[in-house]
């Protein structure tokens, strides 16, 4: 059966008018989008390379925009959204058909006697119902159940109404058509709706059909014009945004060129953002998942990651002032001497501070990445916040004054504590075995024999509590017979705190120094018990010429256990751990204890290391793990990341106390940590919570050291 073009619309009065009406609207849509693009084009040229690693990019689109995996983390929202997504995409077939004179129908309806088209019509009928249920559910969420992350804006309501109108007018038009002229093949819903209509007067049916059909097309056009100006624009931009997503390790911040003269360092104005950053703004669905996950926001601070992204969109839209929808022709522009295609430089120079985020909020961020992890359309918040910090530090020297001591300490003494390097090995005093130093081993030609270089990190070198962890970890290494060495005085801060506080200058200084030291000894593997050192050494040093194999101690200990080099003995046989027991606040033995694992952001979320610490804790005799609600990649920051360790937390309540509360809720007796900063924060949290019930924070290495017997 062949269907001629226009034939399906023979009942539509004045059908050819669809071309000017719909395609006119489409042209306006294109012009509105083009106006957005004119601002993006004026932004900083840096950005992703769209045609690099195409398979990975394509896979991302399948996974995040088509399968919408992140949406299903909140199953209710996921199902609801998927109904709307399917509705909108599949109904697109019918819509395209209606505005092209029936091209899809002519093509698809040609073979097999039109069965394919009939099937498509049936599917469309089904998803129309699904979409309407989705809309109803969405209304219920906005208006009745109201999860706190959702904003009740007029725009959100109007978008839902528009969807409802577009879908229902189409369906009802079909129903009237079926009632007036007989069943439509495949349109089972419309045909059923036609039954009660059958009694109506022929003229009424025809008029009803005409009104509904045209109402549908007009609503479609109007919706199309309106979409690019609001959050619903994500239906197009999310594909692009996900395609363009960052494929480098998430824990790697972009390198800054510090030698450019007269440049703005970091992000100050709208135009300092890359075009992809602005595209982020136009992709945001205002879903609030980021803000909901944000520990700073949760504890009553002004930081609002959604607000930042929406602010960028608002600023970009504001910068369109003066750009005409229909630009003047080049000749007219010349005569007028004005360019209505380019944004006003003064609007591009609007500062991000106060335009999109306030000063306090910039410093409240712990760079935990919970926002990035939760965003269904892969928006990057952290880079932007650090970019603004870079500008404040490097251009203006404006930051919370407590940070000065950390900066000066890193710059002068190579550690944020400002302690002399000569005390870097103090933690080894009193250990029952020697801790060899790389320089000494190299001098006697024994460096080649080492299996790993233990990167101790500043916390373990200078903080009393973290020193105990270092002793426990070294005890595990010794018990497993691992040949290891440390750098001692030659080690300097990895630079992570400086970098995340925006002090790229000090970071690069430290990175280059450390890369040089490490290259000199060229260790086969580096192991560290500090997530920040781990992330920076493995992901950020390659940008400075240092590519090393770096392992976090959770993974390293898990491997020692798996390889049988460490065997956790029965409780009480912890003969090999006298050094740990000395001064440890770990009471009793590990037997029969319940442990909750507090994941570090830079281990679990940034690097996906989740099962390893659990393998270590789970290997201990008699230990039961009780998870917190937010664990693994969804972990909740301890409050120390992003250099917050070195700043006072004066706004809102304290993040570490919130996390401690969550840990105590599990009823566990031990909070297992894998980071010296988490140790400080959770330890303080427990002290404040008055953990009289004897709940303690212990590093996984400490738990293991208590229980290992030498092989």
């Amino acid at each position: 059966m062949t269907i001629a073009l226009f034939e399906p619309f023979e009942h539509v009065p004045a059908y050819p008018l669809v071309f000017p009406v719909f395609w006119g609207a489409f042209a306006v849509f294109a012009l509105v989008v083009a106006r957005h693009v004119r601002v993006w084009a004026a932004a900083h040229p840096g950005g992703p390379a769209p045609f690099e690693r195409v398979p990975a990019r394509a896979w991302g689109v399948v996974r995040y925009t088509i399968a919408q995996t992140r949406m299903f983390r909140d199953p209710r929202a996921g199902v609801m959204h998927y109904a709307l997504f399917l509705g909108s995409t599949i109904l697109l077939i019918g819509n395209i058909n209606a505005v092209t004179g029936g091209i899809p129908q002519a093509v698809v309806g040609w073979p097999l006697d039109g069965i394919l088209w009939t099937a498509l019509v049936a599917i469309q009928n089904a998803v129309a119902i699904a979409a309407l249920i989705g809309v109803a559910w969405a209304f219920e969420r906005r208006l009745v159940s109201r999860p706190p992350r959702l904003l009740l804006t007029r725009t959100a309501i109007v978008i839902l109404l528009m969807i409802a109108v577009v879908v229902s007018t189409e369906l009802l038009a079909q129903a009237f058509e079926a009632a007036a002229w007989g069943d439509i093949p495949g349109a089972f819903v419309a045909n059923a709706l036609a039954i009660p209509l059958a009694g109506l007067d022929e003229a009424w049916l025809e008029a009803g059909f005409a009104v509904l059909w045209w109402g549908h097309v007009v609503a479609l056009g109007a919706f199309l014009i309106w979409i690019p100006t609001n959050k619903h624009f994500h239906i197009y931009t999310s594909f692009v945004n996900v395609w363009l997503r960052r494929l480098t390790p998430r824990g790697r911040l972009p390198v800054m060129d510090l030698e450019v003269e007269d440049a703005t360092f970091g992000l100050r104005t709208l135009a300092d953002l890359g075009w992809k950053d602005i595209l982020d703004g136009f992709t945001c669905t205002e879903c609030g998942r980021c803000t909901d996950a944000c520990p700073a926001n949760r504890t009553g601070k002004t930081l609002d990651p959604r607000g930042l992204i929406m602010g960028i969109r608002r600023m970009s839209t504001a910068a369109e002032r003066g750009i005409d929808i229909v630009p003047d022709s080049p000749a007219v522009r010349e005569i007028r001497g004005s360019d209505d295609t380019r944004p006003d430089p003064s609007l591009l120079a609007a500062p991000l501070l106060d335009g999109a985020i306030d000063y306090d909020a910039v410093w409240d961020c712990v760079t935990c990445g919970a926002c990035v992890e939760s965003c269904p359309v892969l928006i990057e918040h952290v880079e932007k916040i650090v970019g603004i910090r870079r500008n404040l530090v490097l251009d203006e020297s404006r930051f919370p004054h407590e940070a000065t001591a950390a900066f000066t300490g890193m710059e002068r003494s190579g550690n944020p504590w400002g302690q002399p390097a000569s005390t870097r090995l103090d933690w080894t005093k009193g250990l029952a075995f020697p801790v060899p130093v790389a320089r000494d081993l190299a001098a006697t030609g024994r460096l080649r024999d080492i299996e790993v270089l233990y990167w101790v990190g500043c916390a373990a070198a200078f903080d009393d509590r973290a020193r105990r962890t270092a002793r426990a970890f070294a005890t595990c290494l010794d018990a497993a017979g691992v040949r290891f060495a440390v750098l001692g005085q030659e080690e300097a801060c990895s630079g992570d705190p400086a970098r995340r506080m925006g002090n790229e200058y000090v970071f690069q200084m430290l990175a280059m120094q450390n890369v040089e030291t490490l290259k000199k000894y060229d260790p086969p593997t580096i192991v560290t018990a500090c997530p920040h050192c781990f992330n920076t050494l493995s992901h950020e040093y390659p940008d400075f010429g240092g590519t090393f194999t770096v392992v976090h101690h959770s993974a390293y200990l898990a491997r020692l256990l798996a390889d049988g080099r460490l065997t956790p003995g029965a409780a009480g046989t912890a003969a090999s751990a006298p050094a740990v027991a000395a001064g440890s606040d770990a009471p009793g033995r590990p037997a029969g204890r319940t442990v909750t694992v507090h994941d570090s952001c830079y281990i679990a979320r940034y690097n996906g290391i989740v099962s390893e610490p659990r393998a270590v804790v789970g290997a201990l005799p008699g230990v039961r793990i009780r998870e917190m609600e937010r664990n693994g990649r969804q972990t909740f920051c301890c409050g120390a990341g992003g250099g917050r360790m070195w700043m006072d937390e004066t706004r809102g309540t304290r993040i570490n106390e919130e996390r401690t509360r969550q840990a105590l809720e599990t009823g566990a007796q031990v909070v297992a940590v894998e980071c010296p900063f988490c140790m400080t924060m959770v330890g303080d949290g427990l002290a404040t919570a008055g953990a009289a019930d004897g709940v303690v924070a212990l590093d996984i290495a400490e738990l293991l050291a208590e229980a290992v017997a030498p092989r």
Partner: protein
Amino acid sequence: MRIVVLAKPVPDTTGTERLGDDLRLDRLSSPPIVNPNDEYAVEQAIRLVEAHGGEITLLTMAPPGATETMRKALAMGAHGGLLVTDDALAGACALATTRVLAAALATLDHDLVLAGAASADGGAGVVAAGIAAIRGLPYLSYAGSVEVLGDRVRIHRLHATGYTVLEAPLPAFVVVTQMVGEPRYASLKGIMAARSRQIRSVSLADLGLDPAEVGGSAATTRVLAARRPAERGATRVVRGSPAEVAREIVDLLDERRLL
């Protein structure tokens, strides 16, 4: 307004200092920094220039390598520097330093001279007063705040029970305390700008001074002995809720009869 700030390079105060065989500080053992007290003087100078306009010149007597350290103060916002450097100055005493710096100051235009209270290495605390005396400048010390009012300078001179308001006509010499305000952390912009600022080096001959009178050979003081201070007792950290901590601290102070 033209401000001269004395800014001395000293060994990093967080480093472990070592004494050489001659009982003098081994300056190579740790990288030098700007004398922390002088950083407050630089900060005060910058604030005055921000308010009234003008230029800041650093003045230092040190080995030639000191230009590196002086750049750190330039990065904060000073405009230029004068470094008096001469092999003959090794081992110069405080009196000689005073005379050299006074002679160098005479070559600089200045409305106000600022310095921090004592250096972190020598710690004599007399050079500033000496320079003021030689140059015949009004000398105002222990300044907790500094204000310039037209052609006069007014300071709050701190003492144990309060402060005295002092005023002097410009040019004058003011020694500041750490109460004038935290020194700023140099921005990268500042560091880059400092690279192109000029630090002039002059020798004793350029200043018309005789090495035999101001050099190390003419030192009026001599180090007879040096020893490390006794180790301080271990620090005790008190933890707990604010109320508990307060109670424990009160008990501790009480035990030691400090209350």
